[in-house]
Amino acid sequence: MPVSLSASQKALRLASLREQAGGLLCTGADLERRQKRSGGCFSTGLEQVDRELGGGVGKGAITEMVAARTGAAGMVASLLGEARSRRIYTALIDVGGTFDPGSYREGTLETLLWVRCRDMDQAVRAVDILARDENFQWLLLDATGRRKVDTVASRHWQRFAHSLRESGSALVVLSPQAMVGSFARQRIQLVSMLGLEAFDVSRRELVRGRAERGGRVAADFNPVRKVG
């Protein structure tokens, strides 16, 4: 026999259900708010970087991350971990082939397509193809393996930006110096210096941005927003 509940009883039951579901249960308004907050962005998995980027890596746009010395490999690791947990196909266009699969758990690499390019010319052609394929939502162009980065004509970036708008994919360009110019929607500089202490810290803690051991910072990703 159905039992009629008063409004306050219904609210109480709903609150208890929410509590039991541990945050999984939300109202339509909550969901909309959450989507708006993350709208048009992919989280990098690094809180500080997301904050600097205004929510994450922009969908359908180019994000440039300048890593003059180090920080690029850690950023790639963070992005790949995030892509795996969100089940997103990712393509890594690796100029110079410096990506090291041995540094990862095999499960992390499951959604990764690794394209090893000899030079920037090959990389540009590869990005051109991948940017038009809606299967890959993340494209990572890692040019930090090259000590001297060849310049890429602005018409290429313009074309990539157009293709990305169509496919909705996000292109993250990691380079030792700024190269995308005004075609990058967001640009940050990665300043990361990991000492030998970092070898005792789990990767998960490292990619969170800041890990402390005995009151000392073992790892610190400190992204600095630059103009542009």
């Binding site: 790639v76 196909y89 690794w114 590869a126 193809i129 990991l194 030998l196 990767r203």
Partner: protein
């Protein structure tokens, strides 16, 4: 009700399919005889008085621009298969009465549906550059006469309704029914010139004057003869082959041919209610070699455009050693896969585009540089392989075992040779290579490793992680008596 689908000038149509200038006079010639004769010619050639059986020399004298073609059994077989496939969509109860003539049992189809389907069938064959005639009547024999009448009357679809059968037959000359010439002459001496007049003649008089042959024709024209059909089905082998008249060394003619093949094969697959699971392309080269490639399709399909893109993408990447003399394309028909995907499943959004992308990437960086990295079951450094990316992403498994610690290595390939100074206690003190130079301020190691000592791939190494005065951490490796900087961490 029965329908007959007929391809007039079948052998010539099969040969001329794909040619653009079919308005010109063409003749199919049997040059196996000592004096070659015309087997069949098109309307443009017929206007010059050229007809089947006339010597080729005479034909060329009358029409110097007459173009001569030889019969092509492969093309004829291809057209026959295509015709079966198209007709199968109209009605599955079908008899292959002749190579170029199919009889269909259309019982159960309403008048409007029948007429619409007949028109659609003709149009689909026209799309394949084949002109056909359709006859509709109460018996197979009358439907056949109606199809011949359709060609004569240039209407291309001719219905012979039972209620007005005799009136319709009154318009058709005796020759329309493929009667024996002597019989036609005899009937004409009686003053009978049309089939309707013959059908109205009393049966007993026909029997008395013309015997069995006359009675057979009379019964046929009066819908008294309706033998059962010997039913056939479209062939389950879907293959097209074309030998090229001139060897070609460019891509365009081959692509043109493949597009035509795919158009026809797609129809054949549709008739079979199947899709292509794989394709096999074979190019016979002028040097006598064969180039073969099998394409396993990511998802079975019969979409012409998708299949064409697969072939086009591949042919753009290869370079053949000799011109192409013949092209063969075969489909492997499979049942369409029925998959109900879960709402939270993650898969490739467009598997076709994905295959095309991979093919194009391989064309740029080479096969050995594209793939999803997987670690080999070994402790050797940098030991991995590149696999294909999975078509569907599973839920990540919960991590087991010890956590992965430390920063990520940016590996230098090849490693840089270095000179390392030691301290008295054996620790590295200074590193010098072309890009790394400095005093060591901290280190971790040594990590000793070896493996594969039982074969030629035996390896042995000592690893150090060293921090130099600039604060940068590098991986140093010692193999035998040489030091290497393998990469930097960051």
């Amino acid at each position: 009700m029965y329908g007959v689908l007929w391809l007039p000038r079948f052998r010539l149509q099969a040969v001329l399919r794909g040619e653009s200038n079919t308005w010109r006079p063409f003749a199919l010639v049997d040059d196996a005889q000592r004096k070659p004769v015309v087997l069949v010619c098109n309307e443009a050639a017929a206007r010059y008085g050229i007809e089947p059986g006339s010597p080729v020399g005479r034909g060329l004298a009358r029409c110097p621009e007459l173009e001569i073609r030889r019969p092509d059994p492969e093309a004829e077989e291809s057209v026959r298969r295509l015709m079966l496939a198209v007709a199968w969509d109209w009605g599955p109860k079908m008899e292959a009465t002749e190579r170029n003539l199919l009889t269909l049992d259309l019982s159960g189809q309403g008048e409007k549906e029948r007429a619409g389907a007949a028109e659609e069938t003709r149009e689909r064959l026209l799309d394949q550059e084949l002109v056909s005639c359709v006859g509709l009547a109460a018996t197979p024999a009358l439907a056949r006469i109606a199809a011949f009448a359709a060609e004569r009357e240039t209407g291309k679809i001719w219905e012979l309704p039972e209620s007005r059968r005799l009136e319709a037959l009154d318009r058709l000359p005796l020759a329309t029914a493929e009667m024996d010439g002597r019989l036609i002459e005899r009937l004409q001496t009686w003053g009978l010139h049309f089939l309707g007049e013959f059908a109205r003649f009393p049966r007993s008089s026909i029997a008395a004057r013309l015997g069995e042959e006359g009675v057979e024709w009379w019964d046929l024209l009066n819908s008294r003869d309706c033998p059962p059909l010997r039913l056939v089905q479209p062939a389950h082998r879907v293959e097209e082959r074309q030998e090229l008249e001139c060897e070609v060394d460019s891509l365009e003619p081959v692509l043109f041919l493949l597009r035509r093949f795919l158009s026809s094969m797609s129809l054949q697959l549709r008739a079979l209610s199947r899709v292509a699971g794989a394709m096999r392309l074979s190019l016979q080269l002028a040097s006598g070699e064969d180039y073969e490639r099998r394409f396993q399709l990511p998802e079975p399909t019969r979409e012409e455009e998708i299949l064409f893109r697969v072939l086009h993408g591949h042919l753009e990447q290869i370079e053949l050693r000799a011109p192409v003399a013949a092209v063969t394309l075969e489909m492997v028909p499979v049942d369409p896969r029925e998959v109900q995907r879960g709402i939270f499943d993650t898969a490739l959004r467009n598997p076709w585009k994905f295959e095309e992308t991979i093919d194009r990437l391989v064309g740029i960086v080479g096969n050995e540089n594209v793939g999803s990295p997987r670690l080999n079951d070994s402790h050797a450094a940098d030991d991995f392989r590149l696999d294909a990316l999975p078509k569907q992403i599973e839920e990540p498994e919960k991590e087991t075992g010890p956590p992965v610690c430390g920063p990520v290595l940016q590996r230098w390939r090849p490693p840089e040779e270095a000179v390392v100074q030691y301290r008295r206690d054996g620790w590295p003190e200074r590193v010098e290579s072309s890009h790394v130079r400095g005093w060591v301020t901290g280190w971790r190691g040594p990590w000793r490793g070896s493996g594969h000592w039982w074969n030629r791939r035996a390896w042995s190494r000592i690893e150090w992680d060293v921090e130099i005065e600039s604060g940068q951490v590098y991986r140093l490796t010692k193999t035998e008596k040489r030091w290497w900087v393998e990469g930097c961490y960051g």
